[in-house]
Amino acid sequence: MAREATLARPLARPLLSRRARELATGYLYLLPVVVALGATVLVPILSAIRMSLYRNVLIKPQEYGFIGLGNYARLLHDEVFWLSLWNSFFWVFGSVSPQFLGGFAAALLLHQTFRGRAVVRTLTLLPWIIPGVVVALIWEYLYQPNYGALNDLLARAGLMTEKVAWLSNPSLAMPAVIATNVWRGVPFFAIMLLAGLQAIPDELYEAARVDGAGVLGRFWYITLPMLRPIVVVATATRIIWTFNYADLIFVMTSGGPANATQITSTYTLLQAYSNLDFGYAATLSVVLLLIMLAFTTLYLRVTRGVEPVA
């Protein structure tokens, strides 16, 4: 019968074995990631390194040419670069330490059980999720000397007699942008540490309570050691991120007044956007990357790393 004949026909042998086909499909799925990151990360980094070895100022094409480490030599004598590096460290540690302390306190609060916890969590974590430009503009408005809220509040409280131009005063601009960044970063630590707190088994606290440990004892001997891995990861990523982050300062002060808020990443942008000096901008960004690599290596050694990656 026709039906039996169909069944009896030998199966066409597949061109590739099952295993090979499986592998081929897998690599096919892999392809988009490889292409995406190759084209947007790997190739650009290599060309940034190459660019840093050239004199490449867009408005002076006649001077284009290979200059070896010329840009790096220039960097060593560039006072603004060294100032920006110093400002960067000030910016990073001035931002991250209060962010960590505030975030830790916030996480401990948000970890408690209370009515309306979901709403409070959402509201208090919001500053972290909104765009950097939005953060910058909100605070620029708060700091605005004539129509801003801050001067008005301080004047009403009797703490201020003359209007302060927060962002155009060289000694106040950096603290002002740092305060903005702290506002933005506290929720980050709150989220990370809250996640860490939730991962600590309740049994540990129960056992400690039975053994007579008080609130502080439980905090010191259970909470802190158990949070250690996440603290290491969160602070490391935040330090790196803050060091590289340019948006906030770029929007609020563009590194001014008189380079008072010029950090290395905004200085790189300045070289690229205003001076159109792509060779020097690339040099600065390569140095930025090297500093971060050195930092990460050192940091992971000092903190003895985290558990090996899965």
């Binding site: 990360v41 409070v120 996640a195």
Partner: protein, 282 residues
């Protein structure tokens, strides 16, 4: 010496007031700047520039919103649509791309994952100059693709890492049995894996969406025409144009914040769990 009972009493008596005071302080700290801008977005011109400062607008005037939305110079409706399209496309592709690495074992997977983690360390400013030359050579300046592609540089490593965490919590046997039963890989993904990983995928997608929504430097470098600007770029452009119109700008700020704030309410719960899954490993 205090006894255990004593401390617990102290905890009970002091706990509630300390908790509520702390929460009130925290909420005020986080929300006050938003409240200020929200109020400003409803103020009339006279109220915005009054001395002494007017804190509460007389009426809830939506003029600023209408002006920002329909403005010829800074059309927020257009910026909004651009941001929506760029962020959605970036998210969809990044999440799909993330799946492969998360699910598929291949030689050198560990190394690739570590390299992805390392990309988190790269400053965006490092990529700007080379990407600009590259996109310029390819004639992609002032297109949506250029922003979508550029955003991959930070969304893809992130989605891969987050999805690895979620997918690894789903037993491979489930997917394998689906393959045995005649599902294709894509079928297995849609019918077996995705439903189980749905919360994690949603969290990852929202996060990718929010981070491309916030992106600024690529948007201002790779586009130059007003109609190609995203919200972030549009807001910055608005500041650079003329004397800052705080009313319209506040409306623009609220328009840019609202979508991510809504998404975040959904994300909040998952994000906290998901981050532990990823972070404790890495």
């Amino acid at each position: 010496m205090k006894t255990r009972g004593g401390l617990d009493t102290a905890e009970r008596v002091l706990g509630a007031p300390v908790l509520w005071a702390g929460l009130a302080l925290l909420t005020a700290f986080a929300m006050a700047p938003f409240v200020w801008v929200l109020l400003a977005s409803f103020k009339t011109r006279a109220e915005l520039y009054a001395t002494p400062l007017v804190w509460l607008p007389d009426s809830l005037s939506v003029t600023n919103y209408v002006e920002a939305w329909t403005s010829k110079l800074t059309p927020f409706s257009r910026f909004f649509a651009n941001s929506l399209w760029v962020s959605s496309a970036t998210t969809a592709i990044s999440v799909l791309a993330g799946y492969a690495l998360a699910r598929f074992r291949f030689a050198g997977r560990q190394t690739v994952m570590m390299m992805f983690l390392a990309t988190q360390m790269f400053p965006a400013v490092l990529l700007i100059a080379p990407l600009l030359s590259q996109w310029n050579a390819l004639g992609l300046i002032d297109t949506y693709q250029v922003l979508i592609y550029s955003n991959f540089s930070f969304t893809v490593p992130f989605t891969v890492w987050m999805l690895v965490g979620y997918f690894e919590s789903i037993p491979r046997e489930l997917e394998e049995s689906a393959l045995m039963d005649g599902c294709g890989r894509f079928g297995a993904l849609c019918r077996v894996v995705l439903p189980l990983a749905a919360p994690g995928v949603a969290a990852t997608a929202i996060f990718a969406f929010v981070s491309s929504w916030s992106e600024l430097l690529f948007a201002i470098t790779f586009t130059s025409q007003t109609e190609m600007r995203t919200l972030s770029a549009g807001l910055l452009f608005m500041v650079g144009q003329y004397e800052i119109q705080w009313g319209q700008l506040s409306a623009g700020v609220i328009i840019s914040t609202l979508p991510v704030a809504v998404l975040f309410t959904f994300l909040q719960r998952h994000l906290i769990r998901g981050l532990t899954a990823g972070a404790l490993k890495g």
